[in-house]
Assembly symmetry: C2
Homo-oligomer: 203 residues x 2
Amino acid sequence: MTRDIPEISLQRLPIYLNYLKSLPEGDKYISSGAIAAALGMGEVLVRKDLAYTSSSGRPKVGYVRTELIAAIEDYLGCNKKKNAILVGVGGLGSALLSYGGFAKYGIDIVEAFDSDPEKIGTSIGGKMISVDSEVASAVQKYGAVLAILAVPASAAQQVCDGLVGSGIKGILNFAPVQLKSPESVVVRNIDVAASLAILASLL
Amino acid sequence: MTRDIPEISLQRLPIYLNYLKSLPEGDKYISSGAIAAALGMGEVLVRKDLAYTSSSGRPKVGYVRTELIAAIEDYLGCNKKKNAILVGVGGLGSALLSYGGFAKYGIDIVEAFDSDPEKIGTSIGGKMISVDSEVASAVQKYGAVLAILAVPASAAQQVCDGLVGSGIKGILNFAPVQLKSPESVVVRNIDVAASLAILASLL
């Protein structure tokens, strides 16, 4: 999928989506001004972001809330089921396996992997934990394109290489290390400690 | 602390720091070109980012690695101890309490809070879990300025209001909801499911 939306606008779409879904069922219309005010953003920015989806506001009344939700969901691919795997069932990996928030984006974590013999064969949140040497066959079996990487920093590059080799196209990396990967693979990082440190340095 | 560094540059400082620390002890010098190549960034960008810290490369040899590490750590305030509290000891909150990665940034999660009577009085990762009505007194007692918010979306705004009222200045919010807070409080969001959905839509 190649689209001309800037990634920064793309990153705001889930924010609009969560907000629109949080409104009472009875709210039929919503204006860009009301969205902007509720989220503390500029109205022009909101209108521009939403214009990337197929949604269009109507003069005076604004957007039909359910249509706008559907348009954003469609744009984000929420209705297209995508399989993901998770590697590294430590504290964070376990928490993510139990987390129900992926489903609303059409993402299913189908299987998890770890190297710890005590974890292998058990399951968390209904997800089986298998030995990490089986990653490649699972990626094939499920047609998984996404991987969550929650292993220690020291193991992350090696696991990343294995994921790339198995055909994974997108990696969400929680290890505090910059991964090397081919350009065809999209890697995004979440470093919780660094995020908190950056936040602290803004105070 | 008000500085003229763009937040996007600030966000890259921990990446440089992690990389520099991962190099062998014996590596005395490192050039901006070598850093750029290792991290897949442009050399001009690297040099510009690092110039915000007090570090300066030397002609031909580059930066003294230990000096550059110290300069970045100083800029990020790693040597200034900061107390943080965590609210919401579910799966994610528990994982963050056990996570040792905050210490290198000088951040100590001093206490955690939850509303579940079964959790109160227990501890995770050596951090005591207290009833959430005690947040304000703990913030005072520890002089905490940072809070990690890991409660369900439905409770997030109310907890946020309490944190703001208690004197917290920076909130790292994991609930998939846009929080309303005074301008004097810095809020940053991490929405793991949305991040994975955005990643998927880039493929």
